[in-house]
Every structure is written in structure tokens, then in C-alpha cells.
Assembly symmetry: C2
Homo-oligomer: 380 residues x 2
């Protein structure tokens, strides 16, 4: 028998009570029963994101749609935007902007690296007409965490009225996301990562300044955030809400907030680092210059092909992510940001031991597990 375990950076293991929350009688999206749940969910989401409840928009969509909506709602057609591209998701926002006809200045980094605020400032001095800056926070493809606070500060010192739009898909619920303190203008996320819920919901938050500039210069309908904002401030949605997904998310947020968001962040960083340290003891190399707690992006030992690691995990019922594009041959990415505790860390590390031994590496039984256990028990 193979027991299945989901250790990818989204979707993630989801608590049974979260899945079951959507299995009751179907509610109508205009019923008062659902409105109550919707408003409660929105407020919990806002608490996790350190913003006001009535400013959070929940869309029946994937996180990508929220980011796209944020961009096209706030930045006029044809404007110039700076795109930080340090991985697959940075590249996606570059492509979105290009496809809409924006004039895109690309700050391209090698995968694994994080944006340098000084370089952001230099590029913006060179392009003082930039209307917006687009970046990921946690770049899932490389396991790197951009320093959004520093990037936003550097950007606004050069162009005070520009918009900083941030993809927080794999950072919300995993580490601190603080739109107001960081002085950013758009925060976008999704349900299936740090919030350990099923996929299908996207979240958008805009600064007051960004809302003030929301216009309809690009053609869109479903992605018109003004319409959604107007409806959602009344506990409604412009279109049919994904009722069951909202019910699930509400329960997941309740669980996470009961633990305390700072405790959740600390736990997830601790767990992710334990995997990295244990993997390093087996000859793997951390890939990211600045580690995101959402995923342990690891370079396989020299003699081992990363896709073989992914396959050998799959044989054991465990799904982990491999590398994307050019990183495919050498990168693999387990994640425990879902419904997981320190014994899931041990499971991932034990499986990695088994896998590397199977692939010819000399790893003593339990040696890497010992590294993880010691780290989990002796560090805060």
C-alpha cells in the first residue's frame, strides 16, 4: 500500500476539517448564511494579511488572475513598468505585462538570486517614468524570498507615486506580509499555499492610493476590481462566489489564527530550515540566496539527477516539486507549508535519505534525520 502525501509548494496537505467544511448542504451565494461566512472569511484573511477586512477582495480564480487584475486595474494602458524577474513567477508577471502592451523594463536575475534594492533604484533612475514595479515576494520556482520592504522603499525614494505590486501567493500565511508598513500598493495571493486550503480562490488588496487610480483603460469585465469591491463591501460578490472554497478557507484561517500568525510563521520557517539543514548534510545545496520559508529549494548532489529524486519520492507515495525549465536537471523542491508538523519534516528527510541511498549516495541510516531532529529540538 502506498499512502499518499503531498509535499509540494502548493497545493498542499489540507486538514480534513477544511475539506469537510465544503461538504455540507450547498449554500446559495446570495443567502444570508453565506454572506456571514464570506464576511468572516474576509476578516480573517485581512487579519492574516495585516490589512482592513473591507479592503480585501476574494475572487473565484487562481492567484495569477488576482495579480493580472491588480496590474490592469491600476496601471494605464501603455505605461512603463519595472518587472523583477528572478524565476518562473517573476517571468509570468513580465509576460502578463508584455501581453497587455505595457512597456516593460526587465530586471532579470539568475534563478535563486533576490533583487538588490540598489539595482532597483538604479533602474528607476534610468526610467523615471515607470508607473509601477512588479515583483514576487516568495519566488516559488527558486525558493527565494525577495526583501519587499527594502525594494518598495528603494523604489519610492526614486519615484514616490509609483505603484509597487507584489505577488504574495506563497508568502501569505507562511511569513510576515505587511502591505501598509512596507508601503506597497497591491498584494495578491491564493488559497492553496500557506493558507492550506483547496485551490480556486485568489485574493487582491490595493492601497488607497491605488484604488484612487483604478481605471478601466484596459478592456476587462470579470477582472474589474471596482465592481468586486463595491459588491464585497456589502458581503456579496460580483459573480457567483466559490461557496465551498470560501467555507473551507474560513475553517483553515480559523485554525491558523487560533495558533497565532506569528507562531505559524515561526513554525514554518523552522520546519523548512530543518529540511534544508538535513539535506545539506547529505550533499544537497540550498538554492536560494535568501530562503523563503515556503519551500526547500535544493540542488541535488552532483552525481544525482533531480528528476530521479522526484520520481523516487513518487514511488513512495510522496509528491514533491522538481525544478522548472533550465533548473529541471538539478533542482528539487519539497515543501511543508500546508497541514504539516515537525513529524512531516522527519518524513520528508527520511524519504530523502532513502531516495539518495537508492540513487547511489552514501548516506548512513538516520544521519540526516538526526540533523533535522536536533535542529527541530534545539533551536527556536
Amino acid at each position: 500500500m502506498t499512502k499518499t502525501r503531498l509535499y509540494t509548494p502548493g497545493p498542499v496537505e489540507t486538514p480534513p476539517q477544511v475539506l469537510n467544511a465544503a461538504s455540507g448542504a450547498m449554500l446559495h451565494h446570495r443567502s444570508s448564511a453565506f454572506v456571514d461566512i464570506f464576511l468572516e472569511t474576509r476578516n480573517r484573511l485581512a487579519e492574516m494579511a495585516k490589512v482592513e477586512g473591507e479592503d480585501v477582495i476574494i475572487l473565484a480564480a487562481s492567484g495569477s488572475a488576482a495579480f493580472e487584475a491588480g496590474l490592469i486595474n491600476t496601471v494605464p494602458k501603455g505605461a512603463k513598468v519595472l518587472s523583477i524577474n528572478a524565476g518562473k513567477f517573476g517571468e509570468r508577471w513580465f509576460k502578463v505585462a508584455t501581453s497587455y502592451g505595457y512597456e516593460v523594463v526587465e530586471y532579470k536575475l539568475d534563478w535563486g538570486n533576490v533583487a538588490d534594492p540598489l539595482e532597483v533604484a538604479r533602474l528607476l533612475k534610468e526610467h523615471p517614468d515607470c508607473a509601477a514595479l512588479m515583483t514576487t515576494h516568495s519566488e516559488t520556482s527558486t525558493g527565494a524570498l525577495h526583501d519587499v520592504a527594502a525594494i518598495s522603499k528603494a523604489a519610492k525614494e526614486i519615484i514616490p507615486d509609483m505603484f509597487v505590486l507584489v505577488d504574495c501567493v506563497t508568502s501569505l500565511g507562511v511569513c510576515d506580509v505587511d502591505p501598509n508598513t512596507w508601503n506597497i500598493d497591491g498584494m495578491f495571493s491564493g488559497s492553496q499555499k500557506g493558507l492550506m486550503s483547496p485551490p480556486g480562490l485568489a485574493f487582491a488588496w490595493l492601497s488607497e492610493r491605488a484604488w484612487a487610480s483604478v481605471n478601466n483603460l484596459n478592456s476587462y469585465f470579470y477582472m474589474d476590481l471596482r465592481k468586486e469591491r463595491a459588491a464585497q463591501q456589502k458581503g456579496q460578490t460580483a459573480y457567483t462566489a466559490a461557496v465551498g472554497l470560501v467555507q473551507s478557507l474560513n475553517v483553515a484561517l480559523e485554525m491558523l489564527l487560533a495558533e497565532g500568525k506569528e507562531a505559524v510563521w515561526a513554525r514554518r520557517e523552522h520546519m523548512n530550515q530543518a529540511i534544508i539543514d538535513a539535506a545539506v548534510s547529505m550533499g544537497c545545496t540550498p538554492f536560494a540566496e535568501r530562503t523563503s520559508p515556503a519551500v526547500a529549494a535544493l540542488r541535488a548532489p552532483e552525481a544525482v539527477a533531480a528528476p530521479d529524486i522526484v520520481k523516487a519520492f513518487a514511488k513512495r507515495g510522496m509528491t514533491i516539486a522538481g525544478g522548472q525549465d533550465h533548473a529541471k536537471p538539478y533542482l528539487f523542491r519539497p515543501s511543508v507549508m500546508g497541514y504539516a508538523d515537525s513529524y512531516d519534516v522527519i518524513t520528508v528527510v527520511a524519504a530523502l535519505e532513502d531516495v539518495l541511498r537508492e540513487l547511489g549516495q552514501d548516506v548512513a541510516y538516520g544521519s540526516a534525520v538526526a540533523v533535522a531532529m536536533k535542529y527541530l529540538n534545539t533551536t527556536a
Copy 2:
């Protein structure tokens, strides 16, 4: 966040698809849709138990009820029976027989020990009028596995026409149960152990010889196995079937039989022994004279109180069983006979490491996990 994990010797972790099997539309227990499921389940159960499908009876009851029914349906009022009592469950059958007014000869053993066939023979020579012998197969309270084949052989050499009635509650699905080859007359079990299903179903099987003697000398109604047999041979039940539990059990049996019953037994024995070996490396002592693969019954290290181990597991979201009655101070009993694989073994062992360290034992990080991993990987 505490993730919950169930590592007791029943109920056990249950696959989501097994739980979900009962979450569809409610079927009527007389509908042809349910009859099809019932018959399929019965046949799968029979395959697991190496008997004929039409001889298996499924009751909406706990395993204890099946044993009680087996005894009172086959053994005349006031008859003499030999009761092997080597633990909590052996003691239960002794109490059942006594409460019905049977004349009970008790073969009482120290907990952890298994019945000696020579002693069975000696007792039966002393009591040649015994109508039945009652025994557990896997004694869950002590983790001991009685050699039912040898016991039955020894008994029938002395009294060829006696009935051997066996509690297989925690052995069915965990190790070989072979009523015909072992020449036993009653096999009784339940859904929530090796069959990794929710609790609430009991199973009864009687030998042809036992059926021939089924009589109604004791007063009963719900436990009249003749009525059930007549109904169930037509795919019906005498009373309302536990529809959802049957649907769940059917899926669980499908999973187990897809793996192959011999493979399931081998895997479970292997996993249980890995826990025992790892625990021994930390100063614990195996409690059973002859180990049941259903549960790792372990004596705590001298300086540690077993209830503290159970509590420290609970703090980590894991439920394991403690000792019962006089064994409470020193015995603890984790089990991985449910929906569990070798990474659950590692989880249990890693938790036991953490727990024993917390309780003052000197256990090096990963040392016991190493023992389990080596055992799992280098033995068949």
C-alpha cells in the same frame, strides 16, 4: 498547530477514500444497489479470511458481540468451556461465558505469555466434557499472538468434537487467519483494526459442524446467527444494515486485496517489528512472549512511567494506547496496523525518541530512527 495521528491498536487511521465511501447519498438497506455492495463486501471479507463468502456474517455491532453470539449460538446452556485468559480480551470471553452460566475452566496466564498447547491438552484431559475452547488470537492488551493452529490441534486430539472459538478481532487483516486449515469452529472479528475501516461492524464465521449444532438454548434475538445467515445468504441482513460502514469496509478491503493479503501481512509484521527494535535500542522491552504484528506492546524503561509516555505522545497530536489494568504503570502500545506505511513507523519512532528525551532518557537524536530505517530497508 497540532496535526492529529491515530496510532492505537484500533480504531486506526483510515484512508480518506474509505471514509468518503460513506458520504454519498444514503442507500436503503433493502435496495439492489446496497445488496450488490453488501455481497461484494462479504466476498472480499471472506477472501481476506480464507473462507467462503456465503458463510461470513456481517453484524451491525462491535467485535465483542460477534464473539458472544458465536458462543451462545453454538454451545448449549450450562455446558463446560475452557477459557484461555492471557490478557484483557481473554478475560472478557471468560466473563461473557460466566455471565451466561457456562461452567468455565480457566487457563490463566501471566500477561504477555501465550497459551502452551501441552497445557491445553492437559486441562482438557482433566475436563473431557468441555464443549468448547475460547481464545483470542492476537491479544491486543499484551501484544501477544497465540498459536491458534497448535492450540486447536492439541484440543481436538483430546476432544475431537469440541468447538474452538477464536477472537480474531486484531488479527484479521494483520496476519494469516485460516479457519479451515486450523480446524477451528468460530472466527470473529471487527472492522476497525486490520481492515482500517470505521468501527461498528462485527464479523462471524462458523464451521459447518458448528452451524449444524446452532441452537437456541440461550435466550437471544438480535444475536441469533441463524436468522442472520438465512438473510445474508440472500444479500440481506436480518435487521437494518449499517449501510455506510459496509460501503467504507468494501473500499478498504478492495485496497487491501489489491495489495495482496500476504503482502499486507508481511508489511505489517515488518513495520511492527521495526518499532519494537527501535524501542529496544532506547531501553524499552518487548512485552509479548510471541509478538502479534498488530501492536508493539512495550515495557517502558525502568525510570519512566508509561502513562507519561502516552501523555507526551498526546501533546504531539499522536494517540497511542497505554497499558490496561495492572499493566498501566509500565506498558505502552503504539500500533501502525491501520492506514500506515513505513514513514508512519519513522514518525512513531521519532516521536518516541522525543518523548523519552523529554522524560529524561539519554537518547541521541536520530539513533532509534536509524535502527528502524536500517531494519525497514535491509530486512524483508
